[in-house]
């Protein structure tokens, strides 16, 4: 087993643990249905920038599963996959937009772009889950698609903004976090 691979695996594990812990530091409570702004995106995004998108996706997957084990709210069998492992895993896609180049110059713009794309990717499964959920629980004729989109976007926008603000401070103060050796 290559040493780099093992270190990456351990970094994924520990960062996922931090993700699990940060999920509990709720910054703002928004909706009764469980949407809330939290800092859980930050460790996943850092790891994705540091070790590439695959590591980010795996880390997100673990954070989703940890949340599922610790506070499961299961209302539909498909919803389980769409609301827990999948959206967090997609956050790892931020790794496509590494904000540090070979010379060590930092681009806040690229970071913002990466986090925004990751946030949009995370919206997709939450949105589908909302449509499926409301499709099977709401009365017929209810504007399911619109409701799901508004509800999910409302807290994801805040999550993405919080993450971007925190990440720009972090990149400025501690760029070594995203520079893998």
């Amino acid at each position: 087993m290559k040493r780099d691979r093992l270190i990456t695996m351990m970094e994924i594990a520990i960062m996922a643990g931090i993700g699990g812990v940060l999920s509990y530091y709720v910054a703002l409570r928004l909706w009764p249905q469980g949407g809330s702004a939290s800092l859980a995106m930050v460790p996943i995004v850092i790891l994705a920038f540091r070790r590439g998108w695959v590591a980010g996706v795996v880390c997100g997957l673990l954070v989703g599963l940890i949340n599922l084990m610790i506070s499961p709210y299961i209302t539909h069998p498909i919803q389980v996959v769409l609301d827990y492992p999948l959206p967090y895993a997609l956050l790892g896609l931020a790794g496509w937009f590494r904000p540090v180049d070979e010379k060590g110059a930092i681009s806040i713009k690229r970071m913002g772009l990466g986090v925004t794309i990751a946030g949009l990717a995370r919206l997709i499964p939450h949105f589908i889950s909302g449509v499926v959920w409301f499709g099977s629980y709401a009365p017929e004729g209810w504007p399911v698609v619109l409701y799901s989109l508004c509800y999910n976007a409302s807290y994801l926008v805040i999550d993405v903004l919080v993450t971007i603000i925190l990440m720009s401070y972090l990149l400025k103060k501690a760029p070594q976090l995203v520079a893998s050796r």
Partner: protein, 268 residues
Amino acid sequence: MSPLSAPVLGQYVPGDSILHRLDPRTKIVVIFVYMLIVFLANNGITYGLLIVTTSVGVFLSGVPILMILRGLKPVFILIAFTACLHLFFTKGGEVLFSMGPITIEEKGVMQAGWISLRFMLLVVTGMLLTLTTSSIDLTDGMERLLTPLRRVGVPAHELALMMSISLRFIPTLWEETNKIMKAQQARGADFESGSIFKRLKSFIPVLIPLFVSAFRRAEELALAMEARGYRGGQGRTRLRKLTFTGNDSIAFILLFLLVIGLIGLRSQ
């Protein structure tokens, strides 16, 4: 936001009930199938059958009812919300109540009742799994269930290893986060006042040491594992082996009978 006092332990309630002793693989599969077949129920008899099986499950788990009700609390709002939607917006059948533009009709009441019931059944069953299975057992169970997927490139062993390490370190990281927050507060950090920007910025002196020490810890872990000869999943032995017992077969047989019963008794 203040440093949190409660440690993250998940919902697991240690115990020695029949449900606790079932193989985690059995519990995962049975509960997953159960959640799918809940949607087959569409009349009094089939819902009755599900209520009986879920209640028996809760009884067998030996978990105090009060604890389950407490776990249900956050979901009640959601249940009430959907029930109200149906009460007012699903039309059909006799008009039971009308006041101005608001009417409540027979079909709305029925739908509201069935859907709240289905909701509760799903949430309670999901809770039964995490209440009676420790997260380490769940991880073991998932690893074994995913093992056949290794052929198509799913690294089941590695995923399970990372998962166990994550779960193992959550209490440690939790404590560390609190310690750093307290240390920074002792230096005058303020996490609770000011504008949103200021509050977010106040987290930076917590996050940086947290992440730096996390990366250091990851490197130490990798070193310790290599020193002990870790070289991937191939041929690795385990401390605790999962074994199927008679109870697991009984669980699968009961599930099978329940599926047949639901299909036979549901109205077409």
